[in-house]
């Protein structure tokens, strides 16, 4: 194994930063799509359910790679405007992982007891209020483990962008391999880099999950804090919950 020079390491580290950015932006878009489509699929109007179902089937059934190519290469020809490769990638990943995520949202929403909705009706909440105040907060903790899976899938899926010349980890690795002619060290290193990133995501989602469950009284947060401490922890939870619902895919 030949030593990697500092310059080559820099290439990998800046690639890691691009990978992180891609993951965060795609996850944010994916979360918006997942909640939008997932909730639309429980709508009382059939046309809304139909259209959202159609979206889900189309974007779940098409390859993210092909979609990315389509957005990058076909869009300019067809409509005359060119997306930056990074944003074409974010769009493709966000739209397709959002389609997967919408099933997670739909399932978790459907799993909330119908009696909760009935209690909402009995208090004359509007359907939107029932969703926002009653259903989603209870469904949210159930979404986190499957979201974690999708998030890690997405992280690894970002490697597709290297094909379009976006300088992520995988792109850096292929440059180094071409330059040094050696595959083993560089691919071993990026294997570990992806693993470390995925591990960090998983730990983060664990924390989010624990706080979310505490927020519906399922698993009280760590003891030792007084009432005030608990309150501030809960408030923090709410913020974390919101923040991650925007990046939860």
């Amino acid at each position: 194994m030949s030593e990697l020079t500092w310059g080559l390491w820099q290439l990998l580290l800046s690639g890691a930063w691009v990978t992180v950015q891609l993951t965060v932006y795609s996850a944010a878009l994916g979360a918006v799509v997942a909640f939008g489509i997932g909730i639309a699929r429980t709508h009382r109007l059939w046309i809304v359910r139909f259209l959202s179902g159609l979206y889900m089937e189309i974007f779940r059934g098409t390859s993210a790679l092909v979609l990315m190519f389509w957005l990058f290469f076909v869009l300019p020809v067809a409509f005359g405007w060119q997306l930056l490769p990074l944003w074409a990638a974010v769009l493709a990943l966000g739209l397709s992982y959002g389609a997967y995520g919408s099933e997670v949202v739909r399932g978790a929403v459907a799993a909330v007891s119908p009696a909760q909705r009935e209690a909402g009706v009995a208090l004359s909440f509007t359907p939107a209020q029932q969703l926002r105040k009653i259903i989603i907060p209870q469904a949210w903790p159930e979404m986190i483990p499957p979201f974690n899976n999708l998030l890690i899938e997405l992280l690894k899926g970002t490697a597709l962008v290297s094909i379009m010349g976006v300088g992520d980890i995988a792109f850096g690795a292929s440059l180094i391999r071409n330059a040094t002619g050696q595959s083993a060290p560089v691919y071993t290193i990026i294997l570990l880099m992806y693993f470390v990133l995925a591990f960090v995501l998983t730990r983060g989602m664990r924390v989010v999950e624990r706080h979310a469950k505490a927020g519906i009284g399922q698993a009280p947060p760590d003891s030792g804090s007084g009432l005030l401490g608990k309150l501030s922890l809960r408030r923090q939870t709410a913020v974390t919950g919101d923040a991650t619902s925007a990046g939860g895919i």
Partner: protein, 274 residues
């Protein structure tokens, strides 16, 4: 008590004046089917304002269906329901009755509160917020006013010290008392009680019934109650309706129904449950 939902008609213990005797609830030829099973068959009945009416009868006789129709958790197949003169799920347009929009129904429904067998508190909200949420976001009450009222109601049901608990940290009886406070916080004219003690451990039943007795005897809220607690029914009711197979087969004062029922079916039922 503080849940004096019909202002101007303050009452004393053990009198349940009928306000002006106006009809608060009216079922006109209501039919409800589940598949081939007709649960309510051309049902007519009325409840006057301020009355406490208890529905009894064998299970499957349609008692709970009546409450769920009133709460619009189920749809009527035929007939109409009126609450305080307004059609619940219909609107008059050009002299014709047409199905009403969601908004109309929600407005009429605000006059009705319901307590469920399984409490159905919101597990994602602490006790105080369970009670405050609807008054603030549905009735548009100020936060301070809603909170003060929520605390008064919690005191009334004997849980003034559990404001900051999550529902899962309470016993079934405590949860049910919070659910009663939550329903009263909306100042409904009618309170629907759907077998509210059926899911409770026996030793917790008395606490919940005491709270309801208190409410029945000190406010002029109208109550429509499905229960298997016959002593409670006798205690609070002005009228008892005996249901069987989707019809009211007998009605009258609790004394009459429980002591001297006319129908054989009522006698059978009472001897089975008493």
């Amino acid at each position: 008590m503080s849940a004096d939902s019909n202002p101007g008609n303050h009452t004393t213990e053990h009198t349940n004046p009928t306000a002006d005797g106006r009809e608060l609830i009216r079922f006109d030829k209501v039919t409800k089917r589940f598949g081939d099973n007709t649960v309510l068959d051309n049902l007519d009945f009325t409840v006057a304002a301020g009355k406490h009416v208890t529905l009894i009868g064998p299970s499957g006789s349609g008692k709970t269906t009546i409450l769920r129709l009133l709460m619009t958790l189920l749809k009527v197949d035929e007939g109409t329901i009126r609450v305080d003169g307004d059609y619940l799920t219909h609107e008059e347009k050009g002299g014709k009755l047409v199905p009403a929009g969601e908004r109309h129904t929600r407005e009429v429904r605000k006059k009705i509160g319901m307590v469920f067998q399984q409490f159905n508190l919101f597990p994602n909200m602490k006790v105080l917020r369970n009670i405050m949420e609807a008054p603030v976001h549905v009735l548009g009450l100020g936060k301070d006013e809603a909170e003060q009222r929520a605390r008064e109601l919690l005191d009334l049901v004997g849980l003034g010290d559990r404001c900051d608990a999550y529902p899962t940290q309470l016993s079934g009886g405590q949860q049910q008392r919070v659910a009663i406070a939550r329903a009263l916080a909306m100042r409904p004219q009618v309170l629907l009680l759907d077998e509210v003690t059926s899911a409770l451990d026996p030793e917790l039943v008395a606490g919940v019934l005491d709270v309801l007795r208190d409410i029945a005897h000190t406010t002029d809220i109208t109550m429509l109650c499905v229960t298997h607690e016959m002593n409670f029914a006798r205690d609070i009711s002005d009228d008892v309706l005996m249901f069987d197979a989707g019809r009211v087969i007998e009605s009258g004062s609790p004394d009459k129904i429980f002591s001297d029922p006319e129908h054989e079916r009522t006698r059978e039922f009472l001897s089975a449950v008493l």
